[in-house]
């Protein structure tokens, strides 16, 4: 099925807010349909939930065909003994979690867009999320992926070749199915810790890192805390996979929902450009004064050093300066959102060379997601 010009507009943007232009949109219902479409279509932009914040799923120049994989929703064989499950790319993370609940299992990676993010999109961006300190990135929990290559062939890629597809933002092939590793479902509680200074925050993070039951350390600066209805102090949401936290059950769910609302709330105040630099946690006190001097609100997964500074239109001019500072501190320009369109100009030449080589090897005719990442 393809769409008329009016409804195609819905697919010309994503959560990044960038606007592009699509030639057409196609919704395959099965993997063989994806293969057929890929064989006869010259330029393809694969799309999952459209929750990317770097424009990875935004089509360009009216030449791209958007391949919406949202209808590939089959949840297939669950292997309880090996704790793994096969799922198609369009399965939404929360739907999978709901399915796994009855088996007392879960997929432990938890991006804040878990209610709409698809498994295919999570692998393509190698999503991280709030529990990264304990569970790492999505790719760590993928046994294999089935991809459709530029010739329309279906290929299975195991652990050794996974890095050619996970985190490549759909530039190397279309991820259609994956086998995911699962983890036993945990009882979780949380604590909300108010803190006075950056130093104090850092000291607590260092101390909590030694506790193996801690699965999340979410930082919120003073301004964000105030906006969320908390005291105007720094705050750390600490999640425990035990009953150590004082916040439990419904109150715990509410606290996590509050955390998920942070970016939308900032965006509604005009801070629409969200970045995701990654630095060593120990260097947090070197970068935080810079954000504060520019009045840039910051939250993030402090346990793994991924910060989310949010810039309003006037502050966007400071982004190159921030990237420079991040590099000076030995950090990375993108910890989890990917490069997409927004961060292409900040890629290091050596990293670019590696990415170009992967692209040439996996998609020599440049069919997939042209103009993204590299």
């Amino acid at each position: 099925m393809t769409l008329n010009k009016s409804t195609t507009k819905s697919y010309e943007t994503d959560a990044s807010g960038l606007r592009g232009k699509a030639k057409e949109v196609i919704f395959p219902n099965s993997i063989p349909e994806v293969q057929k479409i890929v064989t006869i279509t010259p330029k393809i932009v694969p799309r999952g939930g459209g929750t990317g914040l770097a424009g990875g799923a935004v089509p360009q120049n009216g030449q791209d065909t958007v391949l919406d994989l949202s209808k590939l929703t089959r949840i297939q064989s669950l292997d309880k003994e090996r704790s793994s499950i096969e799922v198609e790319a369009g399965v939404i993370l929360d739907d999978l979690q709901h399915h796994l609940k009855r088996y007392n299992l879960e997929f432990p990676v938890n991006p804040s867009s878990h209610t709409i993010a698809t498994i295919g999109g999570m692998i393509a961006t190698d999503a991280v999320g709030s529990r990264a300190i304990k569970y790492g990135r999505t790719s760590k929990w993928v046994k294999w992926v089935d991809i459709v290559d530029s010739q329309g062939n279906l290929q299975r890629k195991g652990a050794t070749e996974l890095s050619d597809y996970a985190g490549m933002e759909g530039t190397t092939g279309v991820i259609v199915k994956a086998c995911l590793k699962l983890s036993p479902r945990k009882l979780r509680t949380a604590s909300l810790v108010p803190l006075e200074t950056v130093k104090e925050t850092l000291a607590l993070v260092r101390q909590l890192k030694l506790d193996s039951s801690v699965s999340m350390m979410e930082f919120m600066d003073k301004r964000i805390s105030k906006d969320l209805g908390l005291e105007e102090r720094y705050h750390l949401i600490v999640e425990y996979e035990s009953d150590k936290g004082k916040i439990k059950d419904g109150a715990y769910e509410k606290l996590l929902a509050l955390r998920d609302r942070t970016y939308p709330l900032l965006a509604s105040e005009g801070y629409t450009r969200i970045e995701d630099p990654k630095i060593l946690t120990d260097r947090f006190d070197k970068i935080m004064p810079w954000f504060e001097s520019k009045n840039i609100p910051v939250f993030g997964h402090l346990g793994v050093g991924i910060l989310h500074p949010c810039f309003n239109h006037d502050q966007e001019k400071f982004i190159p300066e921030m990237m420079k500072l991040v590099r000076k501190l030995g950090g990375q320009i993108s910890g989890e959102h990917g490069i997409g369109l927004l961060k292409k100009s900040f890629i290091e030449p050596n990293d670019k060379k590696i990415l170009v080589n992967i692209k040439k090897r996996t998609d020599p005719i440049n069919k997939f997601n042209q103009g993204k990442v590299i």
Binding site: S6, L265, A267
Partner: protein, 135 residues
């Protein structure tokens, strides 16, 4: 879609409604949270049927028949972090479509049937009991 001759008054009213629509949806940041609660999206799994998809279409001032494919259940509004009244925007856009003569034939039929027989199928309500689930 039917097309009728549109009076100046109707055109002006439709334009005013579309301005109100723009005002309602302009804060949308396209985060897509609304999709997770939308029963139409959950069933059809197509972005243009989602509240975000419809908001994008409306932001381009496009009046498409897809706007009639919404239950107006307000589930999206519960989930929206910015409390955007998407259903109000869709209702206003539908009014604008009617004023501009772009109302769907099926919608027109349904309204006529409800007025005539108190049910959308146009049958005697007693006879169509087994068909009606919602009203």
């Amino acid at each position: 879609m039917s097309t009728k001759k549109v009076s100046k008054q109707d055109k002006l009213e439709a334009e005013n409604l579309m301005e109100e629509v723009q005002e309602i949806i302009s804060p949308c940041i396209k985060c897509g949270m609304c999709k997770s609660f939308c029963p139409v999206f959950k069933t059809l799994r197509e972005e243009h049927h989602s509240p975000r998809g419809k908001a994008v279409i409306l932001s381009e001032k496009i009046l498409d028949k897809v706007l009639f494919q919404c239950n107006l259940c307000k589930a999206c509004e519960v989930r929206c972090p910015l409390n955007i009244k998407v259903c109000d925007a869709i209702k206003k856009a539908r009014e604008a479509m009617v004023l501009k003569g772009h109302e769907l034939k099926q919608n027109k039929e349904m309204i006529t049937n409800i007025r005539k027989t108190n049910n959308p199928f146009g049958n005697d309500p007693e006879k169509s009991k087994d068909k009606l689930y919602c009203c």
